[in-house]
């Protein structure tokens, strides 16, 4: 019946609600320069990065950050350059020494570790790091570059080469083991960087603008591959980027940073639909929402449904009450059976008697259904194929809401209106936006 159910896309957003913090950051500050104490005191009282710089001359890297990163999630740190995202990343493995605060990884406060303990901790818990400019060693072959992390741990030659070869296979560089970095393209070099991290096979993977230096097509490809790898490996990835689209694609959750502070942490959907402040709102305007918003976010509650046993008059009454010309038919457990229009009932009544059984067998049309986490882009495709409202069902198949075309247009139009810089207050469902929403759809498909 619900033949229009979308293909089952594995959602990267699953399992983000369990709060088992792999990395817990508390009250973290990084202030560069002498005498950071007074700068921190000022920051605690709400001084901004610029004010501290002007008053004391200290550069503020990170101020008052509290975040929890769950095991197995892809956590994106996003912000413009200078917002402190790369600094925060480097505080997680103490490439930068925190000025104040704690970073607890698997229950261990790494800010309290000695040099020696820290070294051990980096080897065991962190899969090194993936860098924007790749940072692979020019004098080593691909194989020996990838084996580097294992080499410093003292893994014997044969064993580390075997593990490195497997990681190289994993990132699709098989056959290039003996090549030198300068023989590889940028995208391939970054695969070496990624393989080097994967070869270590530790839980936490830190990535600093890892794809930012690649051209757009390669970049997209690497993002897809990371999503793919992550679906299999379930590592805890902390990914730094300045690119919102990348953040939305990769992140289970996103922390948006501005002037050394974290201004919002949330799922891509939360960031887009409920920006914490004007800064985030400005940041997310103009983004292609169709890939981020889901049916669940734009659905409306169902005011009236028809029951299986309802006769034609009852069904028509329910439609009249809700002011609609059609109605969804559900069974006793609110599972969607089909869609009924007043037109067909009225036509059938003219011909003769209409029993609930006949409604069920002859008059009902199949209803289009989508899951709550179906991306808006797919909902648009389905909506374009028919005029009936689309039923939104949960994992057990029960009706949760409906998506009507107006809601889709409204969701897309909000972006388009903001992006076009028009004044606020315009009705979001004005027909003039239809063209704009097609443009958004086209952009997503491109």
């Amino acid at each position: 019946m619900d033949s229009s159910h979308p293909p089952d896309v594995p959602s990267p957003r699953e399992g983000t609600d369990e709060p088992a913090a792999k990395i817990a950051v508390r009250g973290l500050y990084k202030v560069f320069g002498p005498d950071p104490g007074r700068a921190i005191a000022a920051l605690e009282e709400g001084a901004t990065k610029a004010e501290v710089q002007a008053r004391f001359g200290n550069a503020v890297g990170v101020a008052d950050v509290d975040i929890d990163i769950a095991a197995g999630e892809t956590f994106v740190l996003m912000g413009l350059s200078g917002s402190g995202k790369s600094t925060l990343l480097r505080l997680l493995n103490r490439l930068h020494e925190p000025t104040r605060g704690s970073v607890v990884v698997d229950g261990t406060d790494i800010t309290r570790l000695s040099r020696r303990e820290l070294l051990q901790f980096r080897r065991e818990r962190f899969s090194g790091m993936v860098f924007q400019q790749f940072a692979i060693l020019p004098h080593r072959t691909v194989l020996d570059n990838v084996a580097y992390g294992l080499e410093v741990q003292g893994v014997p030659l044969a064993r580390r080469r075997e593990r490195a070869a497997r990681a190289i296979e994993l990132v699709g560089l098989g056959g290039w083991e003996g090549s030198y970095p300068h023989e590889l393209s940028g995208g391939m070099q970054q695969r070496v960087g990624l393989a080097r991290a994967l070869a270590v096979d530790a839980d936490v993977l830190l990535m600093d603008e890892a794809f930012s230096a690649l051209d757009p097509l390669i970049r997209r490809e690497m993002q897809d591959e990371l999503i793919d790898l992550q679906a299999r490996m379930r590592k805890t990835i902390v990914f730094v980027t300045h690119d919102l689209d990348e953040a939305l694609r990769l992140g289970d959750r996103i922390a948006i940073m501005k002037d050394a502070r974290v201004v919002q942490v949330g799922t891509p959907e939360e960031v887009i639909t409920a920006p914490a402040d004007d800064y985030v709102a400005a940041f997310v305007e103009g983004v292609d929402r169709s890939g981020v918003l889901t049916a669940g976010a734009i659905m409306q509650p169902v005011r009236e449904v028809a029951r299986l046993r309802d006769g034609p008059q009852t069904a028509l009454n329910r439609m009249r009450r809700s002011g609609l010309s059609g109605i969804l038919v559900v069974d006793g457990e609110r599972r969607v059976l089909g869609y009924l229009t007043s037109e067909r009932i009225v036509a059938a009544l003219r011909e003769g008697e209409v029993t609930p059984d006949r409604i069920h067998r002859e008059l009902m049309e199949p209803a289009a259904t989508v899951a709550t986490d179906t991306p808006l882009a797919d909902v648009i495709t389905i909506a374009s194929e028919g005029s009936a409202p689309i039923a939104v069902v949960d994992a057990t198949g029960r009706l949760r809401g409906v998506v009507v075309k107006g809601a889709i247009l409204a969701a897309l139009a909000r972006t388009q209106r903001n992006g076009a810089g028009e004044g606020a207050g315009g009705a979001p469902d004005a027909p003039s936006h239809a063209g704009a929403s097609h443009a958004a759809l086209g952009a997503h498909r491109a």
């Binding site: 493995n93 962190f126 090194g128 790091m129 692979i136 060693l137 004098h139 410093v152 300068h182 270590v200």
Partner: protein
């Protein structure tokens, strides 16, 4: 201008004579060690028949720097032998190599230290400037006082004169290793020794080899001066030619120095370049 004269000369002379008595045994031990090193090198160079040594050197040069340099070495060493300068040539080569061993043994670690610490760099830099610009003859005198006449003060004077560029270029090379490579080494849990030998030194290799090359060239330029304080070799031959106003004899010895310089320069430069080619396109 003033009746008072700043007694720099008294300070220096005093310090030198104090050191001479206080550290005498140490200097003697050092002199013996350098003598032994040079003696060993010389024995090795003079042990085999001359044609064998010449062919061996030419082959080594060809291997490290290509067949052109190998051919040049073969012809050059043949000329040296032919004009009867083989003996002083090997003496000078032993001196140069011994001094170079000391220069590298001290200069590379010092350069690494200077790269690692801004404090060390700040202290070392003016000392290096001083060593490089102070005329060599000036520290030849205390060197002779400390180590006596002969080859050892020559080595010491050469060391002082030729070490600055190596220290500078090692420090520069390591400081210029891209920051993300250093971060990568740290992020993967390298010890600072692992970071040094697996990342910093290999990446800085072209710069380090340029330093070795520079110091060898300065080292060679001290050969004649070393001849003035009793070091036997090509320097002494040059001086003998000058003293007798025998321009031809002096030129022959000078030519032998040039031949040695060219071969050593091409070989060390090509080692640095080849690594650089491997490293980056």
């Amino acid at each position: 201008m003033l009746d008072f004269r700043i007694p720099i000369r008294d300070w220096v002379s005093g310090a030198v004579s104090y050191l001479q008595t206080a550290l005498g045994p140490l200097f003697d031990g050092f002199a013996d060690a350098v003598d032994a090193l040079i003696g060993g090198l010389l024995t090795a160079l003079q042990w085999a028949p001359v044609p064998v040594v010449i062919v061996a050197f030419a082959a080594l040069a060809a291997l490290l720097a290509g067949w052109r340099v190998g051919l040049f070495a073969l012809a050059g060493l043949f000329v040296v032998e032919n004009v009867g300068l083989w003996q002083p040539f090997t003496q000078t080569l032993a001196l140069v190599l011994a001094a170079q061993v000391l220069i590298v043994l001290v200069g590379v670690p010092l350069g690494i230290l200077a790269a690692r610490s801004d404090g060390v760099e700040r202290v070392i830099r003016p000392v290096l400037d001083f060593m490089q610009t102070m005329p060599a003859f000036v520290y030849l005198i205390p060197a002779v006082m400390f180590f006596g006449i002969g080859v050892v003060p020559g080595v010491v004077a050469t060391f002082v004169f030729a070490i600055p560029p190596l220290v500078r270029l090692v420090s520069l090379g390591i400081r210029q290793v891209p920051g993300d490579l250093v971060e990568a080494a740290d992020a993967f849990g390298s010890t600072s020794w692992q970071r040094l030998v697996k990342v910093e030194m290999p990446v800085a290799r072209p710069s380090i080899m340029a330093g070795v090359n520079q110091s060898i060239m300065l080292n060679l330029s001290m050969v004649v001066i070393a001849g003035m304080i009793g070091a036997r070799g090509l320097g002494a031959e040059v001086l003998r030619g000058i003293q007798r106003l025998n321009v031809g004899q002096g030129f022959e010895a000078g030519l032998a120095v040039v031949i040695m310089a060219i071969v050593l320069d091409r070989v060390t430069a090509s080692v640095g370049r080849r690594r650089a080619r491997d490293a980056r396109s």
